[in-house]
Symmetry: C2
């Protein structure tokens, strides 16, 4: 039975070969991803791998002093729990649901079984991981060189790409945690974008009015990541 293509499907799952898909399907459990839910804690064990479908998950790094920053953002294009098959079993980062929705999860040992067969699953997941690495690298450089306005644009675009519609449910306080800046700074930056008619802000709901404008205003980081992602994981024909 073919899965429905489109934004409600996890793209990694969709890219699996038919045989693989049918083997996993009985074990994939759809779960709720409520806002703020922690999928795994820094250094903690992972029992499952998550494939977001409508939810968005942030990989957050938290410092000793409580400061934090998002190192990557994962939606229906990816998976949460890469360190499992990378062999480390845990990472020093935390995975938090940033936008409520749903996702499919798979037991860790099942995934590992398949991974160790060194077939197409392995190579798909590795390419995905490389895309993730690009995203993290770009984040590092972006944090150093670009203004908050630019970074906010980048962040909005990345989030928007993982949602339907043009609305984000997201307080400025949350965004500030992700970007690793003060809440006031986000107010400022959002004010600028709002003033120029790119977005509308209304108590936790951001409406993107001019997506192209955001792209123009964003730093190059958004485009680079997107391009590299497309290169590594070209849209595959749904099985």
């Amino acid at each position: 039975m073919p899965a429905t293509p489109g934004p409600l499907t996890n793209e990694l799952l969709a890219a699996l070969p038919e045989s693989q898909w049918s083997r996993w399907q009985p074990f994939l459990l759809e779960v709720d991803l409520p806002l703020g839910h922690v999928l795994y804690e820094s250094g903690g064990k992972m029992s499952h791998v998550y494939f977001p479908t409508t939810g968005i998950v942030s990989l957050l790094y938290v410092l000793e002093d409580g400061g934090s920053a998002e190192i990557a953002i994962v939606g229906n294009e990816g998976l949460v729990g890469a360190s499992l098959f990378m062999g480390g079993l845990s990472t020093p980062s935390r995975a938090v649901v940033q936008s409520a929705g749903k996702g499919d999860r798979l037991k860790a040992d099942l995934m590992m079984e398949e991974f160790n067969l060194a077939g197409p699953v392995l190579h798909l997941l590795l390419r995905y991981t490389q895309a993730l690495i690009t995203k993290m690298s770009q984040t590092a450089v972006c944090n150093r060189h670009h203004t908050l306005d630019q970074q906010l644009c980048r962040w909005l675009l990345l989030s928007l790409d993982r949602l339907q519609g043009n609305e984000l449910v997201m307080t400025q306080d949350l965004i500030s945690n992700m970007l690793g800046v003060r809440r006031d700074g986000v107010t400022d930056a959002a004010g600028n974008l709002s003033k120029d008619g790119l977005i509308r802000y209304k108590r936790g709901i951001i409406t993107v009015l001019d997506r192209l404008g955001l792209e123009r205003r964003s730093c190059e980081c958004y485009a680079v990541v997107k391009k590299e992602y497309d290169r590594l994981l070209p849209a595959t024909v749904a099985h």
Copy 2:
């Protein structure tokens, strides 16, 4: 024939199982890594994988406007060219020799052959890659939250760990490129450290006088990365 353990050996190679090592040994070519040499360019094809022994290689991200930042630093503990076996064949980053020395290199196809057997080589390399991911993530957060003084300490320590002795051959200008800041800023920060007797600076040569002091003054990022690295790649018995 057992390889000589110690700092002159690449630790990844040393961690290979005996059988693997003997298969590769005839094909490992020792090459010079002169200062400033570019191992691969952003987006370029990779024909070889490099295992630094005495040299140090920086993975640099370069922006459109020329701004740059180091996202990871690779010495005899690691390898340059991970994107090869990750399946992407290239990355948007540049690999530059940051400290002259030597390294072993291996033809790409040979490495892939072994990798695809899904044996111990695969799992070793993946664990290494995860350590690399940690380093990149930490860099991203560090760029956001920590002062230049702290970051310089971190950077010096990371470099020092990959060298013998306590001297770094390194101009402030080079360091500024790595850290993604102005040269003047590095002068400032180095001046501070110098004033407190932690280092001595002399025209391109940094002598570390008080390593413990550097560690105390550095941000947590150094320790986190080191710890995670030790966890993922514990010192293996040399074959």
